[in-house]
Symmetry: C2
Subunit: 208 residues, 2 copies
């Protein structure tokens, strides 16, 4: 088999596996895939040496559009506030579309991903990598002052989690809108900094 044959088999098998997951409502392993594809097990093994390689290939397909979005936004010449908005809004819109198209299938993928968090982790880290570029750019323009980059990222990730977590999307759905996401990004740019907290204070809670 040439490298090209392998790549074309891989693509075809990933799409077949995703069709099977949709039809069966459960994860699909290499044995099932070989039988449904009417391929020899050795051929399947050549494409996916380990069970985890099949799931990795599915993840790659699932996240490819997200990576394209992030690269496009990071490389664009938009104002930084707008980059932040597009960075989250475009991926949110895409996830919501997948969710609404088939909520049960979406929930199944979330379940599969949660069970294989070590394989998903790389994509979360990649999103954090792109976001760190945007945070550095914002800080160079004077936003998020006096915050270490990791701290700024952690706070931003927590404040926009409604628009990045598929679990939260399944809970809130219609209460999530691009307009609210925009207002949250605006709030971050207007208010996030490392200045001394007035909310936490130091004294104990006095009662009226």
């Amino acid at each position: 088999m040439t490298q090209e044959d392998l790549q074309s088999d891989r693509k075809r098998l990933v799409h077949l596996a995703m069709d099977l997951i949709e039809r069966r409502g459960a994860e699909v392993g290499k044995t099932t895939l070989a039988s449904e594809a009417q391929m020899s097990r050795s051929r399947i093994d050549a494409v996916f040496p380990e069970e985890s390689d099949l799931f990795d290939a599915i993840l790659e397909d699932w996240y490819a559009p997200d990576i394209a979005i992030m690269e496009e936004v990071v490389e664009s010449d938009l104002p930084i506030e707008r980059k932040f908005y597009e960075f989250f809004a475009r991926r949110f819109a895409r996830e919501r579309e997948r969710f609404r198209e088939d909520p049960a299938l979406f929930a199944l993928y979330v379940e599969l991903g949660t069970a294989r968090m070590e394989q998903v982790r790389g994509y979360i880290d990649l999103a954090d990598h792109y976001m760190s570029i945007l945070v550095a750019e914002a800080q160079a323009e004077g936003f998020f002052a006096n915050l270490k980059i990791d701290k700024a990222m952690s706070l931003i990730n927590q404040m926009v989690i409604c628009y990045t977590s598929p679990q939260v999307m399944m809970m809130l759905d219609e209460r999530l809108t691009e307009e609210k996401l925009g207002a949250i990004i605006d709030t971050l740019f207007a208010g996030l900094s490392g200045k001394e907290s007035s909310a936490r204070g130091v004294a104990g809670l006095k009662l009226a």
Copy 2:
């Protein structure tokens, strides 16, 4: 049976039901409760006429400390930023303690609550009621300018969801800290307003 007997049975049965839920790892109904309490079914029915009355009583017990916290904070004479912080931080600390004490039992209660969302709804609405008092107070002091109260509440709820949602707590646990919650509240007070969004802009995404 006097009203006092009823109340004392109710309390005792709720605690027994919660012990049973913990031991069995599953919801407990009136039939099981009657047998475990060695009480007649008619006595149980006098205390909990409907199946849902038992779960309501469990919810009441679960949320009583939260209601006490919210009342205490709303009535306190703390500065408004600090009230917001305490309003979320104290309930968060309490939930985290329950979660860490027994993560499996905590997850079971979350599952039971999710399955009976219509009964839980009243407590979420009550928390929103207390929060609306705090938002009105903040707006009277000039914060969250040019935002309708419902809009401000929706945005704030979304930005602090990491510290109010038990589902999110189960996912993030150690990444959640009172210090970060304080920074989020500070960001809200410094940045949340209804001014025209610069993040969303109007033009399409131009590429570099």
